[in-house]
Symmetry: C2
Subunit: 212 residues, 2 copies
């Protein structure tokens, strides 16, 4: 009987090897040969799992998105049954910034991926779809927060969503140590305070409590 | 007598060839050989001007920053003798986004450059210095606007500066056609309206007039 192989596990191990290459050596070194080496397998074995560099990158990016969602999900669990939309947004934005090793790996992956997407049609479609879906989730959250009275109804959810996602623009400032991670969180908190201003009371713990 | 060669002009022509490679083919193709080909010179001639890929990239990035400053400067001239700080910021931010061909080239250059900086010490130092200087200019503008009563004095100039620079985070949304260029400008205008809110009157032309 042939040995059972955990294909999904193998592919994830390869994706993690790819992340390490991107994070530690840079996207310029991202070839199938280098990833195979980093994953400790032969090029032939790697090609068994991914037919091309684009297919490998594609899977690694999907896996990165999943891992980010997982981290956000784990953070949400700690916020209790009905987390405040401000806290959900803060957690989501913080996980999109390179503030810890895992988030840094996925952030760098994502930056490299957008650059690749500009010159590869298949990557472009996948990257675009991912961004459209992520943006839609945030806009849905903003619309619900408006409906629930957490955000003023005169705010335009589409533009507020774009301004929230724009906060990932703090990334180069953090990566090149122009600002400290705490400065980035201060900026995010200030932006969120203004978005939710007038409709909430800040709790003494620094989180926000909805006042019914 | 040897032929006079315009060295600065040659280097700029090489930098522009490098931009075209980054914009049209992507940073993965950014080798000295490809740039030489794009510039229509031999690899040896290219190496006469730049000893390494890093030196070439370094010059191309400095040149890109100069060109962006030049475009902002040309825009400022049209704003008259004492441009309003809101208009200066709008112009600066708009030129940092990939909203037209030249800005797209420098924006892509800049994104590729930040990724390179993470794995090359010399590039890191230069990129960091550029960001620190650019950030300082924006913060100086914000501080002056506070001093002149254009922005409320209870705003923290450092955090407001970080939030302004974060608006470059709209770049992936524009590049991957998730939002339209006009959506990006709407978001920037809304952010600037709030920054200057309470201290100004909006003119009917859509620009801002300071009311003394």
């Amino acid at each position: 009987m042939p040995k059972q192989v955990d294909h999904r596990g193998r592919r994830e191990a390869i994706a993690r090897a790819l992340w390490r290459v991107v994070e530690q050596r840079g996207v310029a070194h991202l070839t199938m040969r280098v990833v195979a080496q980093e994953a400790g397998i032969s090029l032939g074995q790697l090609q068994h799992y991914f037919a091309s560099r684009a297919a490998m990158l594609s899977f690694a990016m999907d896996f990165a998105s999943e891992q980010t969602s997982l981290r956000v999900g784990q953070g949400l669990e700690k916020l209790g049954d009905r987390p405040h939309p401000r806290d959900v947004l803060r957690l989501t934005l913080a996980e999109m910034l390179p503030l810890h090793a895992d988030a840094r790996a996925t952030s760098r992956m994502s930056a490299a991926y957008v650059l690749e997407a500009l010159h590869d049609e298949a990557v472009h479609e996948q990257a675009r779809r991912g961004l459209v879906e992520g943006r839609a989730l945030v806009e849905q959250l903003v619309r619900q927060a408006v409906a629930d009275g957490h955000i003023d109804s005169d705010r335009d959810p589409a533009t507020e969503t774009n301004l929230l996602l724009a906060l990932t623009g703090l990334t180069p400032l953090i990566e090149l140590e122009v600002i400290e991670p705490r400065d980035a969180l201060t900026a995010i908190d200030l932006h969120l305070d203004r978005l939710f201003s007038g409709n909430e009371m800040r709790s003494s713990s620094g989180g926000l409590q909805w006042v019914p």
